[in-house]
Point group: C2
Chain length 274, copies 2
């Protein structure tokens, strides 16, 4: 059951959409919303790590200044999220930690049921279509399902599960049934397989799981490149659910290519399960 | 939510305990109990695979005979389980499949919420303390949590979670909260770490997760060999929950040694989560 949702935010543009989505998720599931701001230790430690050449800021002064700036920013971001979210009736807990962002997020993820992130943080600059390195690493290492928000905030109206029968897809199926039930979303199962019979039978097995959980799932099957077909199927209103790794490939250290390709170009939020 | 429990049984001694446990789990969670008997294709195909030397059973006759025997056995076992379980008010579905048992079980596991097995099947002979090869393989490859029943059937009265903060342990934590809630079991978190502070903080984080899910968890910490400490802590009344792989070890193809050592000697049922 979804009892605690972790929102990691740095107040950057993409994080704003994640804040809205996480607030909505927590509201619908009546979960506690834990809002995490990570003071990036790489910024604080920068003087030790870099050769500053001619510039001579004394290290202790730099530390003090950057810590002050990061603390002020953390407080401003978290208080804004609290204001905006609590007014909607969500119970909010604010957490500030210092460390390498993805490591802190993954550690916090252990004791929550869902992690929500924006597509990129402020350190990623302005590649609107990109996927930030923190997000990628969280997806690769989080023990808890992760939802990456789309750039444009929008309430999901449908859950679209891309299912191929692999282990991560099976886990995504199980999480999807719980989420769709809690959020009251209709479900579509999408299977992509050049063998039409195989596609049908995979879709049917996923639909039977949803049915056991009191949900009717519509079925869509397709042939061709999974990432292309998935991207075609997702509308901005769809929460897309998928496994992080493709079937049959040993990619324990790399994000499965389908999930990665989809995440970079998805028009709506994506739930990724390892 | 636990809506479908898969019981794989071949009617052997250890499977009887699994039948009782699975029936109890399905009853308490109001889940459908899917009872699976796998006709072992390795038995059916044996004549082709083996050099029979002087013995000359014609292959088609052998096939027909062994299939008849296996079908009769499947029916007898499944009907017995149906009789015993339905009288307790559980909705039962019977499934007979032909194949390599662990492969069929893992495939069926995709669309259920929990798998229940005995410690060994009939093919394992009479090593009462052993762990059958099918069970081992299911635990290594099932996308769904697996409970291995103890030899002696007994209703669990407590959930004992062995938690080390690793990914599989985190997943075991999440499944444990759901199970303990659905089964109404009190919870004990056990952390084993030679660093007492680390053990305390890990146990506290797990307890906080249970608290978010409306459950109070008692905390036990210990130092030393994890498998020894876990085995000491488990009573026959405890459903022991643990991750399949130990922390920090790359053992994707091998069962983590702690889980394996514990499974071989556990006095009560063990929930293993990959």
């Amino acid at each position: 059951m979804i009892k605690r949702v972790l929102l990691a935010t740095d107040g950057s543009g993409p994080a704003l959409a994640a804040e809205k989505l996480a607030g909505w998720l927590a509201y619908k599931t009546e979960a506690v919303l834990e809002v995490l701001y990570v003071r990036d230790i790489r910024l604080i430690r920068m003087p030790e790590l870099m050769d500053w050449g001619a510039i001579s800021i004394p290290v202790p002064v730099y530390h003090e200044e950057i810590e002050k700036v990061l603390s002020a920013r953390a407080e401003a971001v978290l208080e804004r999220v609290r204001r905006e979210t609590e007014s909607g009736g969500v119970r909010v807990e604010l957490v500030v930690e210092t460390g390498v962002p993805y490591q802190v997020i993954v550690e916090e993820a252990r004791t929550v049921d869902l992690v929500v992130l924006g597509r990129a943080g402020e350190a990623s600059g302005h590649e609107a279509t990109g996927l930030g390195s923190t997000v990628e690493r969280v997806i690769r290492t989080s023990p808890t399902p992760v939802i990456v928000a789309a750039l444009e905030p929008r309430e999901p109206r449908r859950l679209l599960l891309a299912y191929d029968g692999s282990d991560p897809a099976t886990r995504a199926l199980h999480v999807s049934a719980e989420l769709a039930g809690a959020l009251g979303l209709p479900v579509v199962v999408l299977t992509i397989n050049d063998d039409a019979l195989k596609a049908e039978s995979l879709a049917a097995e996923a639909a039977s799981y949803f049915e056991d959980h009191g949900l009717h799932a519509e079925i869509q099957t397709a042939a061709g490149e999974p990432d292309e077909r998935i991207l075609e199927a997702q509308t901005p209103d769809d929460l897309l659910a998928m496994g992080a790794f493709g079937k049959g490939l040993i990619r324990n250290l790399l994000l499965g290519s389908t999930a990665e390709l989809v995440l970079r170009r998805a028009v709506g939020p994506v739930l990724v399960v390892r």
